[in-house]
């Protein structure tokens, strides 16, 4: 695997001051790799710590602390070979033992990491039992036969296992520092890290500054000297400060992408993301009508996704007819009937299906509640979708919005008729989405249950070519329609054209400051 670093093309003049300042919405949850649980925090942790593998601009795996790995014939044992020149910022060599310590720490009930579930998802041997307090952390299926060899034993084969080790939870941790400083080990004055940067300053809710780690193995290829994260809790203010040149990067407030793309064609971006947006039918305790697949199909067909994406959201999103985004690695979008129809054909079919089910013209009026969490974009999507249903099918929908935490509780308790849903992949593989539709999934808010889907997803875990299995799952979902895929996300950002090297094609939006550089004006 080739390494990846800031790739400054010949002839480019670098700016004298190599700094990058960007904006985040909220203070991050933690800077501890085994505790952090938010995207903004993970972005910083990726600069401070380095895991076994990193990702390149397209999201492919490139060496991090590990140079390579070998999988056993049964795909149950992975052996990673670590590089010799990886050292912590205090000069201590990074060893396989640092990974063993970190991974045991992640599942240790005493740390109570909210991301302990990720280690379970990785199927590491005994992970689930340790989290449940039934075994000691030392029983985790990870070992270090020597300083440069890390062996991981899985409880079941996982073809995409290596893709999962770019996640912050799997980064190494400096045992001696944590034992000395306890919970305060993440303070700038205490923290020892092994990434391309070290933490210089952290003023919660205001700024976090990191500077180059002189001990990083690839420090020579690093260009940016300083990276600053500013917490700016208001989207519009973030944009104002971008215009004032105070930040190099900020999110675009909802609805402003088209105008900004026209005003700043080289600096406004709509980047694909590994996330989907869908409507959940409540199949457990929702309206009786939802038990009829014709009703679900009719409602799905009557939604003009092009209108929602192009005229309402206007942020470069992608209309969705499958649950898994097309941008997912190694995933080929299966052909589903609805996708190949024109909207007029879908509308006609929707009327027909609804009438067959006994609703609409000449039948009963279909009515239900639609639940979403308080947010302007969600509200717009809800209004447009319900208007489409009303005009095309005569369906009456009452909108109901709730504050985020209340919404989550209501939805997970199946206390709704139809509710919005969204999911961002934990790793770049289709199962991160399709697992949601299995009977046992804790995130299956529609309470969809299909034995064949469960069987296919189980089979996919150990298959070397899961695509045919995923195709069948998507086709079942398209036929059964327990959820209505609406669109696949994009991220809208303003990025100063002075900052180069941004991984535009990495759909997980995993970026590393070490790959960026600032060009002269």
């Amino acid at each position: 695997m080739p390494a990846f670093a800031a790739d400054v093309p010949a002839g480019v003049t670098l700016a004298e001051e190599q700094s990058f300042t960007y904006r985040t919405l909220d203070e991050f949850s933690s800077l501890d790799p085994q505790v952090v649980e938010d995207v903004d925090g993970s972005n910083i942790v990726r600069d401070l710590f380095e895991g076994l593998y990193n990702q390149d601009a397209d999201g492919n795996l490139v060496p991090g602390v590990a140079l390579s790995h070998e999988a056993s014939a049964d795909n149950l044992t992975y052996t990673f070979t670590l590089r010799d020149n990886a050292v912590w910022s205090d000069g201590t060599p990074v060893t396989a033992g640092d990974f063993v310590y970190a991974w045991q720490r992640a599942v240790d009930p005493e740390l109570a990491s909210p991301y302990a579930w990720y280690m379970e998802l990785m199927s590491i041997e005994n992970g689930a039992a340790i989290v449940a307090g039934e075994m000691e952390p030392s029983a985790l299926g990870v070992s270090a036969p020597d300083d440069k060899t890390l062996v991981v034993n899985l409880s079941k084969p996982l073809p995409y296992f290596t893709k999962m080790v770019t996640h912050a939870t799997t980064f190494p941790a400096p045992k001696w520092v944590i034992e000395e400083h306890g919970a305060q080990w993440t303070r700038p004055e205490n923290m020892v890290s092994n990434g391309a940067y070290v933490l210089e300053e952290h003023v919660p809710k205001e700024r976090s500054v990191r500077v180059r780690n002189e001990n990083y193995w690839d420090n020579e290829s690093t260009v940016l000297e300083t990276v600053t994260t500013l917490v700016i809790g208001d989207d519009a203010q973030g944009l104002t400060r971008w215009r004032a040149g105070e930040v190099d990067m900020t999110d675009i407030p909802a609805g402003q992408y088209p105008a900004l793309a026209e005003e700043f064609p080289d600096e406004a971006f709509a980047l694909p993301r590994l996330c989907n947006y869908y409507f959940n039918f409540n199949l457990a305790s929702g309206p009786e009508a939802f038990q009829d697949v014709r009703v679900r199909q009719a409602l799905a067909m009557a939604i003009d996704r092009e209108v929602i994406v192009d005229r309402v959201l206007q942020g470069g999103q992608f209309p969705a007819f499958t649950f898994t985004p097309a941008a997912t690695a190694d995933f080929e979008v299966p052909g589903v009937e609805m996708a190949s129809m024109t909207q007029a054909e879908r509308d006609a079919k929707a009327k027909e299906l609804l009438a067959e089910a006994g609703y609409g013209e000449g039948g009963e009026t279909l009515s239900f509640n639609y639940l979403y969490n308080t947010n302007e974009a969600h509200q717009q999507v809800a209004i447009v979708a319900t208007q489409m249903w009303k005009q095309k099918l005569g369906v009456d929908v009452t909108l109901e919005n709730q504050e985020w935490k209340v919404f989550l509780e209501t939805r997970s308790a199946q206390n709704y008729d139809m509710a919005r849903g969204a999911w961002c992949g934990d790793y770049n593989e289709a199962s991160t989405f399709l697992d949601l539709l299995t009977t046992d999934s804790g995130y299956n808010d529609a309470k969809f249950s299909n034995a064949r889907v469960d069987e296919l997803m189980t089979e996919a875990k150990s298959s070397n070519d899961p695509q045919p299995l995923y195709t069948e799952v998507e086709q079942i979902v398209a036929a059964e329609m327990p959820v209505i895929p609406i669109y696949h996300y994009s991220t809208n950002v303003m990025l100063s054209d002075a900052i180069q090297g941004w991984p535009m094609n990495n759909v997980e939006q995993n970026w590393y400051s070490k790959d960026l550089y600032r060009v002269a004006d």
């Binding site: 203070e27 104002t240 509780e409």
Partner: protein, 310 residues
Amino acid sequence: MLNYTLRRLLMVLPTLLILVIFAFYLMRLAPGGPFTSERPLPPAVMANVLERYGMDEPLHVQLWTYVRNIVCCFDFGPSFSQKDRTVNDVIAQGFPVTLTYGFWSAVFVLVLGIPLGIIAALRHNGFWDYTMTGLAIFSQIFPNFVLAPLLVLLFTLSWGLLPGGGWNGGQWQYIIMPAVALGTSYMASVARLTRGSMLEVLNSPFIRTARAKGLPEHRIILRHALKPALLPTLTYMGPVFVYMITGSVFVDVFFSTGGIGQDFINGAYSRDYAVLLGLAILYAVLTFALTLMVDLLYAWIDPKVRAGLS
């Protein structure tokens, strides 16, 4: 006076206790908890997390532990949302920030509001009076969520004079806009209040007597009229300063100062019970302290009040 102060201080403790109990149970009544998330935690992970934060205990035990930790060790517990920090850390970092620009905001309110009020009273029904009244109305129709973006558009985007936000260790450039945005409407109220009471005092018999004695006007204003005319303003400023601290939420978020207003908002959204309770206690103590301070100042200025307290 000393007895009065002690009595007031003693009243604080039971009141605080009632507040803690009330706030503690009220927060738990709100749907959703600190660990409710888009991806619900598996039961075993949730059990570990709840145990880590002592939330696996019955509510009354949690309350007792909370109160005991505060009384014995001044420990407000760990923050649920900022996992590397305790509530003590959160307050120790954010409160000085909010207090600093709250203080400068109060200075802005007094330094501008009082002279404006005095001038308006002295030039009653004249140009300055109308100008001041106009300014006061203007300030009050521009609440801070309108004024703050306006200030940024002018001072940051158009003129490039001030940074659009942040704190940067509390450099003066970073304090000006939050202080002005926070204080403008209060400044207008202080000006109107001062104008009204100044007019009343200027029309009172003792001022007429002073004028009849031939005292110079500036001496009459500064030595005789100002002190009694400031009493209503003083009464007003005590709670106003508390409002400035507790009501700084928008300013904190908009200018990203890192103050406690942001913690309050985030605490509410993330159901960070510990931070919310800690801030509720802080706000309560502030309210008590400033109200007491105003009462004592009032007594110092007004002999009649002092006599009543004694």
